[in-house]
């Protein structure tokens, strides 16, 4: 009689119309009433919204409408996840191609500064189709390897669309073209900030976590302090760290030479390192605590020393929880590294904050979408790795 037990029967008992499909249909049909693309005379001018049939040649409009109608039909009537996934993916592909086609179709010959960007109708339809794909993927229960393959295929398709020039008339691609060199430099900075600080946090956090697990007196104070650090807003922590690092750069011989500055990458790196310590230390303690007493006793009975027990028995068994700590820290770092640009630390945030400063929407997107994609990809890959590492373990 619990609510969740009712849930299973509730689904079977509902009528033939899928209520989730109705939601998808509302999104996809609603999207048609909104502008599909925006045309601006320059990159920061205000734009005119154009609806699907205004933004695209008739044949393309018809194709998109047919695909969306098919997706709605399947969402409403078919219960088979594979079919729903296929139609959802087809709708996503149609939208992606149509956005590029709108760019090519709308680009005026006499104004090379004109900008075309997908508008609200595109994004709403994209969200609707993504929900269909997400729901179908959840119901398909893809295994970890399948999820990584799906991610790789999606990434390859997006890269292919970029390389093929299908999107070359879109404004965000124009923003990218204008600063391609800087883009990749900041991309590397972003990865160094996010992954480098995590690597440092793993190197320090694992031993600290083991220490906290072995010595109870260390555990609570250490976790408490790291909890407080985690609570401090990133902009505040970046700012607070500027003062001591600036002092060190000025007064400690050699510090300046190895790149320590008050402003720039150093305070951002240090802050991200401090933020990552909590998930590392806390998950090491939780993971080691979760190893069953019986296993540890058996290892002791086999004559393993404390060190052998730790490295050959306890750590391998705690691995999934340790990896979960790494996942939390990495996803969080990829997001927080975006804020580093405010203190001159570089990363994708450079474009995001420049875009905000110039009210250039597409530059904002150029700075905001890569960290979103990176964090999402990191989460999918690490979730899969965690699942694989947890197999056959209690």
């Amino acid at each position: 009689m619990t609510t969740l037990a009712d849930a299973g029967t509730g689904r079977a008992a509902t009528s033939r119309i899928d209520r989730f499909g109705v939601v998808i249909a509302i999104f996809l049909i609603g999207a048609l009433a909104l502008p599909f693309a925006t045309l601006r005379a320059t990159r920061i001018a205000s734009g005119t919204g154009l609806r699907l049939f205004e933004a695209l040649p008739v044949t393309v409009t018809a194709t998109v409408l047919v695909v969306l109608a098919a997706a709605i039909g399947v969402a409403l009537s078919s219960r088979r996840p594979a079919v729903r996934l296929a139609l959802g993916a087809l709708a996503l592909a149609a939208l992606a191609l149509a956005a590029g086609a709108a760019g090519a179709h709308l680009m005026p010959d006499d104004n090379p500064y004109a900008r075309i960007a997908p508008a609200s109708g595109f994004w709403v339809a994209l969200f609707g189709a993504s929900m269909l794909v997400t729901d179908a993927s959840v119901r398909l229960k893809l295994g970890p390897a399948g999820r990584i393959v799906a991610l790789a295929v999606t990434a390859a398709l997006i890269a292919g669309l970029f390389a093929s020039g299908a999107w070359s008339h879109l404004s965000i691609v124009a923003e990218y073209r204008n600063r391609a060199d800087v883009f990749w430099r900041e991309a590397i900075n972003h990865v160094i900030l996010a992954a480098g600080s995590l690597a440092a946090a793993i190197a320090i956090g694992l031993p600290l976590g083991i220490l906290a697990y072995e010595v109870r007196a260390v555990r609570d104070p250490l976790i408490n302090v790291l909890n407080i650090v985690q609570t401090i807003p990133s902009m505040a922590l970046f700012g607070i760290l500027i003062a001591p690092l600036g002092w060190i750069a000025m007064n400690v011989p050699g510090a300046h030479a190895i790149g320590i500055r008050g402003i720039g990458m150093a305070p951002a790196f240090l802050a991200l390192f401090l933020y990552s310590l909590l998930p590392m230390v806390a998950n090491t303690v939780v993971g080691l605590n979760g190893v069953s007493r019986a296993v540890v006793d058996a290892a002791r009975g086999m004559g393993l020393t404390g060190r052998q027990r730790l490295f050959q028995v306890e750590m391998p068994l705690a691995l999934p929880v340790l990896l979960t700590g790494i996942r939390i820290a990495l996803v969080q770092n990829i997001g927080l590294a975006t804020v580093a640009a405010l203190i001159g630390g570089g990363g994708f945030g450079v474009f995001l904050f420049q875009g905000l400063g110039q009210t250039a929407t597409d530059l904002i997107l150029l700075g905001a979408l890569p960290p979103v994609a990176l964090a999402f990809a990191a989460a999918v890959v690490l979730d899969a790795v965690i699942e694989i590492s947890g197999r056959g373990k209690a």
């Binding site: 619990t2 969740l4 009712d6 401090i232 998950n283 927080l336 804020v339 995001l352 904002i364």
Partner: protein, 262 residues
């Protein structure tokens, strides 16, 4: 001994709160303390508006968005755990998982093209992002109730609504409060960044310090925001702890339950 530790912690927090209040009410008295961080005779205390005003509007922004997010998120979580909303359960879980990989600063920046500059995008980003932890925690709270308790409630003849209001929600409350805490902490951090899109708040002080190269501004903005976040987070934790204790239902937070600022 444990009780002594808690007392020390409480006294420490009260002292920190008193210091914060003193600084906000009469910041000029502390000018001497911050003066060494300035150069070329720059002001030591932020002077484009009082720190108290900025703090209050920061708190109002976060408070309003968090309350709105809590109402919507708890409502949605109740809906998907009832038979009527069950078909949305798996999808809503997936959306929350995906949504939480979105950096809050990206959500903030992406709200600007839709909402324009000012308080709007900050409130929208705080609301949208704030939904996720509250929804997730409410869902976990409502779907991991001890079956015996729920069955007893049904056996006592409680209706679905009575069971929800008198049994399920009260039992899930510590976890829900924890979700609201996470949401508020993330909100405080995101609202700080909101100053870069012209929302009135404490981030303004840090941004002004960065632009004019005034370390005193950066430090005071950073310390006020940091202290506020820690005190508010501790406050929520204390409430959740008390509730859990009173109900005797001690539930351990799961290892991947933590989430941080923006």
């Amino acid at each position: 001994m444990k009780r002594d530790m808690i007392r020390t912690g409480t006294i420490l927090r009260l002292l920190v709160f008193a210091a914060l209040l003193a600084f906000l009410l009469a910041p000029d008295r502390f000018a001497g303390l911050l003066a060494p961080l300035t150069n070329n005779g720059a002001p030591a205390i932020y002077n484009q508006g009082t720190l108290l005003d900025l703090t209050l509007s920061h708190l109002v922004t976060v408070g309003l968005s968090t309350v709105a997010a809590a109402i919507v998120a708890i409502g949605l979580a109740i809906f998907v755990t009832r038979p009527a909303g069950a078909e949305f359960l798996a999808l809503s879980r997936a959306i929350v998982n995906i949504g939480q990989t979105f950096p809050p600063v990206a959500v903030l920046a992406l709200s600007v093209p839709i909402m324009g500059f000012g308080e709007g995008p900050t409130r929208m980003a705080l609301f949208l992002y704030g939904l996720l932890p509250i929804f997730e925690n409410t869902l976990v709270g409502l779907s991991t109730l001890p079956p015996a308790v729920v069955e007893t409630a049904s056996a006592m003849g409680m209706t679905g609504r009575q069971r929800l209001l008198k049994v399920e929600l009260p039992l899930a409350m510590p976890l829900i409060i924890e979700g609201i805490r996470l949401s508020a902490v993330i909100g405080l951090a995101t609202a700080t960044i909101g100053s870069t899109v012209a929302a009135k708040g404490l981030g303004e002080v840090i941004v002004a310090g960065l632009l004019s190269n005034n370390l005193a501004f950066i430090v005071q903005g950073g310390v006020i925001t940091g202290v506020l976040a820690v005190l508010i987070s501790d406050g929520f934790e204390a409430v959740a702890h008390r509730m859990a204790k009173r109900r005797g239902a001690t539930r351990q937070a799961d290892p991947d339950g933590q989430q941080s600022g923006a």
